[in-house]
Every structure is written in C-alpha cells, then in structure tokens.
C-alpha cells in the first residue's frame, strides 16, 4: 500500500510541474489564440538565467529565482512586441510558423552558450534527507517545487478572478471586438499574457532544473509534454491545465511503477499518457474543460 501512496505522491509532484509548464502555454492561447511552440525554450531559458544569476553572479538562489522570473517576464513581453504584435489578424498558420521560427532561433542561441550541451546542477540549498511520512518519502526539492507551483497557480487564479487586468484578459479571450469597444487595449493584453507566460515558464524552469538538473534536452522536453496536457485539459482552461497536468503525472508514475518490468514491458510511463489521451479525446474532443464552440446561425 505504501508503494501505491509513494506513486501517488510522485505523480502529484511530476504532475504539478507539468501543470505549471502548461500554465504559460494556456495563458497565451487563452488570450490570443496563439499556439506558442517555443514555450519549452522559454522554460529552459528561465532555468539557465536562474543558474547563471546564482552560480556565476553569486546572488542568493531565492532572489535569483525571482529575478529570472522578472527577466523572462520582460523577455517574453518583448518577443510578443517584436514578433507577434504585427501578426494580429493574420492567419493562425502564419502565427504558428513564426513561433516555430522563434523556437529555432532560441535553440540556436542556447546552443551558442555552454547551457546548450553541458549539464549543470544547482548547488544544494535544501536539506538532503527526504521527508518521510507514513512510509512515503518526498525530497525537499520536490516539496518546495510543489508548494511554489500551487502558490503560483493560486496566484494566477486570483489574478484572473479578481483583478481588473485579469478580468480584462478574460474579456479579450471571450470577445475581442467587444473588449475594444469598452475601452480595453487588446495589444496590451496580449503583451501581458506573454509576459505572464514568460514568468510562469521561468518558475517552471527553475523548479525542474532544481529537481532534474539543468540539461537543455530535459528542459525543453517539458515544452513538448505540455501539448498532451493542454489538449487533455482543453487548451484555454487554467483549471484544465492543472487537473490534466496532475492526471498526466499520475498516469506516468502508475504506468512505470506497475507495468514496467512485467510482461517484458519497459518505458510505459512515456507511452501511457498518450494512450489515455487518445481514449479521453474519443469521448471528449474539446478536452476535459475546453469550451464547446456552438455556432448559431
């Protein structure tokens, strides 16, 4: 039984990180209907900036973590301003091509730095002995990661429910024309959505880097796992991203925990999420929390 709970706990840990990675992707899609293919690169950049600030510059790690969030906030905002602002109103396929181009450019830039090929790891700043409760153990880095993730998701939910800016972002995602006509600046909202996506990506990057070590391949793989998560959650729902992220994490842990090794199976954790995803999409094609677009003519 404790093995089961151990899998549940690690599933939630992994899943909440998926959720945080997916959050930025959902923010951008929700407000501007842009699929940001380069999201994984922004996550990676967030981790690298945190590392560079704390190890190379010598800033305390918590401060470095916050600073990297601020830096990617402005980085993502300028990406929107420079590349995507002029694409407002263009066909969605052009916009997607631009974010693919963006991904290649960021890849290229990252490979120019040592981060592209080498492995780094954060200096240990948390106790090494894991926390044990009822036979379930969880490491401090995972624990802190989960707490930060839920705090951020809570913060974003509050922002969207209560703040004027958050409500105007929701208004824009609902109806752009109507939003403009009541005095909301749509370009400003798009910029802000990217900025906040950058911020959450940096947070995700920092947490992943802390748990798995800083390796470009691992980090940008999170930009790919984001796709099944958001499709399952329903592309434009923050709650959906959280729930789907955790479901993905649990499926992955259960699959590799119970299936691997029996009947000669291996690596089921990699495949199982996609199989379940296909099955769920058969019954709920808009994802778990996606909006059904009903057209009345």
């Amino acid at each position: 039984m404790s093995y089961f709970f151990q899998l549940v706990v690690s599933g939630i840990v992994v899943g909440s990180i998926y959720a945080l990675s997916a959050l930025g992707f959902v923010l951008i899609y929700k407000s501007s209907r842009v699929l940001n293919i380069a999201h994984g690169q922004i996550i990676a950049a967030g981790a690298f900036i945190t590392y560079a600030l704390t190890v190379m510059v010598g800033i305390p790690i918590y401060l470095a973590f916050l600073m990297s969030m601020v830096i990617t906030f402005f980085l993502a905002m300028s990406v929107e301003r420079i590349f995507l602002r002029r694409l407002i109103g263009e066909p969605i396929i052009s916009v997607i091509m631009v974010t693919i181009g963006l991904m290649s450019i960021l890849d290229g830039l990252i490979y120019l730095t040592p981060f592209g090929t080498e492995n780094f790891s954060f200096p240990a700043f948390l106790p090494v002995t894991p926390i044990s409760l009822f036979g379930v153990s969880i490491s401090w880095t995972q624990m802190v990661g989960v707490i930060v993730t839920f705090a951020m998701i809570g913060g974003f939910s509050w922002f969207f429910k209560k703040s004027t800016l958050g409500i105007s972002m929701r208004a824009v995602s609902d109806d752009q024309l109507a939003s403009m006509s009541i005095g909301i600046s749509v370009p400003r909202v798009f910029g802000l959505a990217w900025a906040m996506a950058g911020l959450s990506a940096a947070a995700a990057g920092g947490i992943i880097g802390n748990i798995t070590g800083i390796n470009f391949d691992t980090l940008h793989a999170f930009g790919i796992i984001v796709f099944p998560v958001v499709i399952l959650g329903g592309l434009d729902s923050i709650l959906g991203a959280v729930v789907a992220g955790i479901i993905m994490g649990l499926i992955q842990q259960f699959a590799s925990g119970y299936l691997d090794g029996s009947w000669g199976l291996n690596g089921t954790g990699e495949v199982m999420p996609y199989i379940i995803l296909l099955v769920i999409l058969l019954f709920k094609p808009h994802g778990l929390f996606g909006i059904h677009e009903i057209e009345r003519v």
């Binding site: 004027t164 409500i167 609902d174 109507a178 403009m180 006509s181 009541i182 600046s185």
Partner: protein, 253 residues
C-alpha cells in the same frame, strides 16, 4: 457640443476602395442615419470612426480629438460608444455583469482603497452600479438583469448590446443596424429608445439601418452611400427626392 467631422476619407483594402473621398459632418444632438445598399461601405465608415479601421487617406475629427489613427480603446474613452451589427457580447456573463464590465474605466480607485473598500472604493462601485441600473431601467432590461446573456433571445441581446454602449456614458452613440432581424414590436421599442436618447439624454446618434421606413421617420439628417461614394445627403425629404438615391435603390431602366 461636439461635432464629428469625417473629411475626404478613403479606405482601401488591396485594390478595392471600400470608401472613396467621403465627407460627413455629424451635428450634435441630432439623429443622423447612414443608408445605402449592401456593401455600400456603411459599416466600414463606422469602423473608421470607432478606430477598428484606419482610413487610408483623409481625416476624422471629433471636437478636439483626431480619430484618424486612434485605437478603439482610446476612442471609447473620448465619449464615443458603439453597438455592433453582429452581437459582440460576453455570452457567459449576466446582463448586469456585461454592463458593469463596461464601467471598468471608471474604477479609478487605488489598490489601497480597494483593500479598505469602505470609503472611496465602495462609493465608486455604488456610483457605477447606480449608472448601470439607470441604463437597465431605460432599456427595459429589468427582467433579464441576472440572466446569462447567451441564453437570451436575439432581440433582447441586441438591446443588451445597445445598453452596453450606453453604459460607457457616451455623447456620441454609433448604432450599427440595431433593428436587424427584429419583429415590428421590437423595432418600435428600439425606435422609442433612440428618440428618448436624443430627447432626454441629449445624445448624438449615428444610425446605420436598412429599414428605410424607420430611417425616414426618425432621422434628422441622412447620408446615402453607394459603392463607397457619398451620393446624397440632407434632410429625409431632400434625400427621398434625390434622383441619384432613387437610382441606387430602385435601379435604372
């Protein structure tokens, strides 16, 4: 009292001229209608005024403001509001919330006041709510106050659309086919609202409408567009006898 002056406005999409050298002067306190056959450029003209399109040539001025290159969200703060031809409402919100959302520019209290809430913040919220209630009263939307907009009938949704424009407290109201797809009674209601807006609220109304009967009855001034060119203007009786206008509507032999 502010005049809206559209001078020599040309709007080009690729090689197609949607508007060609259009001159219009909207006088304050009057109901001005813009009519014309389908594709004449009526909505394009409204889009230019409300900032959704920017004229290729020419200039649009509203009092001291130059609207030629202003963005829609700026224009909505200059006392110009617009209701759309196709419904552009927040369908998942109640009527009340749709209208309150349009007051967000008036929520000018700081975060400190928001935290304390009592005092300035609660007063401003109450003022906004009072204004919204006044609009709801005027547009006779009381029975639907808490209903979700997406579930209301088309005619009521059109009224919410107009109400939301009113909630911005504009001096100039642009209405794009507010009566399209309505039955006689619903049309009569809207006509009454428009006349009351002029008389009681002293509002300037610009109306794009296909129902010529209504237009002739309630307009003080009429502008007629055909293929993006202004072919006639003046008081209703002048326009009705203008041979070019008759040609455009009835066609030549």
């Amino acid at each position: 009292m502010t005049h809206l002056i559209v001078s020599e406005v040309t709007l080009t999409f690729g090689g197609l001229n949607a508007l060609t050298g259009v001159n219009i002067a909207i006088e304050p306190g009057l109901i001005t209608s813009i009519i014309g056959p389908n594709g004449a450029g009526k909505t394009s003209l409204l889009n230019c005024v409300s900032g959704f399109y920017h004229p290729t040539l020419g200039e649009i001025r509203y009092g001291k403001y130059n609207l030629t290159h202003a963005s829609p969200h700026r224009i909505s703060t200059m006392g110009i509001a617009r209701a759309f031809q196709n419904l552009e409402l927040f369908r998942g919100l109640s009527v009340l919330d749709n209208l309150l959302l349009a007051r967000h520019k008036h929520l000018n209290y700081s975060i400190f006041h928001a935290i304390i809430y009592f005092g300035k913040a609660s007063r401003i919220e109450a003022e906004n709510r009072a204004y919204v209630e006044k609009v709801i009263d005027f547009m006779e939307l009381e029975p639907y106050r808490k209903k979700m907009v997406g579930n209301l009938s088309y005619g009521v949704q059109k009224r919410v659309e107009v109400a939301r424009a009113l909630t911005l407290a504009p001096q100039l109201l642009l209405l794009d086919e507010p009566m399209a797809g309505m039955n006689i009674e619903e049309k009569e209601d809207i006509v009454r609202f428009i006349l009351d807006l002029k008389k009681e609220w002293g509002m300037t109304v610009v109306l794009v409408e296909h129902d010529l009967g209504v237009v002739m009855d309630i307009s003080d001034r009429i502008y007629v567009l055909d293929f993006g060119v202004l072919i006639g203007w003046g008081k209703p009786e002048e326009v009705a006898t203008n041979p070019k206008v008759i040609d455009a509507y009835i066609g030549e032999e």
